[in-house]
Symmetry: C2
Subunit: 334 residues, 2 copies
Amino acid sequence: MKQMKKIINSPQDVVPEMVDGLVRSYPEYLERIPDTEAVVRSDKASMKGKVGIVSGGGSGHEPAHAGFVGKGMLSAAVCGQVFTSPTPDQIYKAIQAVDQGKGVFLVIKNYSGDVMNFEMAKDMADVDGIKVKSIIVDDDIAVENSLYTQGKRGVAGTVIMHKLVGAAADQGASLDELEELAKNALPHISTLAVALSAATVPEVGKPGFELADDEIEYGVGIHSEPGYRREKIKTSKKLVGELITKLDEQQHLDPEKQYAVLVNGMGATPLMEQYIFSHDVLDKLAEKKIKPAFMKVGNYMTSIDMAGISLTIFELTDKKWLEYLNYSVETVGW
Amino acid sequence: MKQMKKIINSPQDVVPEMVDGLVRSYPEYLERIPDTEAVVRSDKASMKGKVGIVSGGGSGHEPAHAGFVGKGMLSAAVCGQVFTSPTPDQIYKAIQAVDQGKGVFLVIKNYSGDVMNFEMAKDMADVDGIKVKSIIVDDDIAVENSLYTQGKRGVAGTVIMHKLVGAAADQGASLDELEELAKNALPHISTLAVALSAATVPEVGKPGFELADDEIEYGVGIHSEPGYRREKIKTSKKLVGELITKLDEQQHLDPEKQYAVLVNGMGATPLMEQYIFSHDVLDKLAEKKIKPAFMKVGNYMTSIDMAGISLTIFELTDKKWLEYLNYSVETVGW
């Protein structure tokens, strides 16, 4: 077996050391909630009188989610073990840490473990009289049902959801208003990925799947879940063509409408390739007479050291959504 | 030979398509200078009455340098072919595009090709009556002289230099003041890297060097230039120990002094590993009773898809330098 080559100390210590490294590198933004692997804003004043926003999930998707904690975005993020849901008690501690009497809104990716544990934390908060509502993000259009998931998976579109509810909460939206915003936006966020190689979970020590030297796979998930087709590697233009065709089937792209685009590197794919891919995305959209009203390119929802890219298209049916995307934030990762 | 696996169209088109993808994705920050691969701020008003700051070099180091173009940082960046200096005429066009009558300051990495071509562009500007001064950054302490370099190489510390002179220029510093600032700061910026794998230049199609599955190399350059030692891969703590020992020999780390730290991923190394490495950097500095006054972790000066990390330590002998590092910017990459 090929030896795993990573800059770590021991596979068991990856998450606590990573969380520690993050909060100690950015004390002006982040601090750890005591006795947890959860991260909260250090600028507590920015949360005052506002609904708290909590997200999280398994680690391995950095900067998601802890890198999006800060004024204008998340209030706290809970970091589970690698590709493993955080426990309900940790999620509950994050809810407690951010509640300001206005309630707490949870952004959950649609994985069975996350859904179960976040729901349990919500029940614990209910008992304590903390009002909690939530959205389950399922933006990955690759497949219905998957390993670890009933329905569609939650992937890079989750970061868009963070941005929307984070901006709205900062502007004073109520818990009910945030729920409505999230529910309205969700069906308009669609993502699809292409993988060139799989992630290696440190405790496993080998890649989650194997692709031949000349092979790619469409629709792979962020925990190495299978996609919908393997084939020989193509040009960036052709990869983009495939992804946009599928996203178009879902979204019925329309030159009369406004769109936001997120091009997301999966961890090991350099910006060079991401910008080339973006160039082809913009060309392909231009063929459809669409010019995105908002665009972002970089590593936002990664899969450890997976090589690949995901493309998220978000139809801006409400003009406030564009304002939310452009709203100023103070985070490490956005 | 193992097939190169990249999301590109053709190796020849990598740079123009990448530059196009970047500026079209971020039109609010960036635009292309006509007939060049150079990128300039779209917010021209932000340059008014100020000294222009121009940097650049071979491509393959994204987000450097074009990702640092924006208010408070660079005025323009010139993108050469991959790992190849931009031509003097392109650099000259960037100088012309940003000059506001106050002169233009060039930040050059110490590679023979860059130094020669930026100097030629400076001469062209002199003829035109545009005052130009420059700094040659040589922060990599790994080796004296190298492939492509007389003296030490310029690496991630260059981004620190962009930030310093960019902030000072935005605050109205004169060309002479910028030169003094850059000259004063330069000797206090030191960088050292460790590589786990080499970059693959698209037109070459194979990695710049080969490391065994269990091997790392200290002191590798950002164009796959040789480092100073190969050995079996170690824990993050031990890698950090080696780098900080060498940086300490150079800088004589002192608890009475203030420091800024930049942990820089080389392209394919995920944030997970970068945060763990940062955790160990902070521990090692804490042993020396040093707590950085400023820290940043992420991909800033990459080497295409190289796996590895560099560590930059910057001694803040002038308290203004910390203000400059914290000064607000509007860029894609900082």
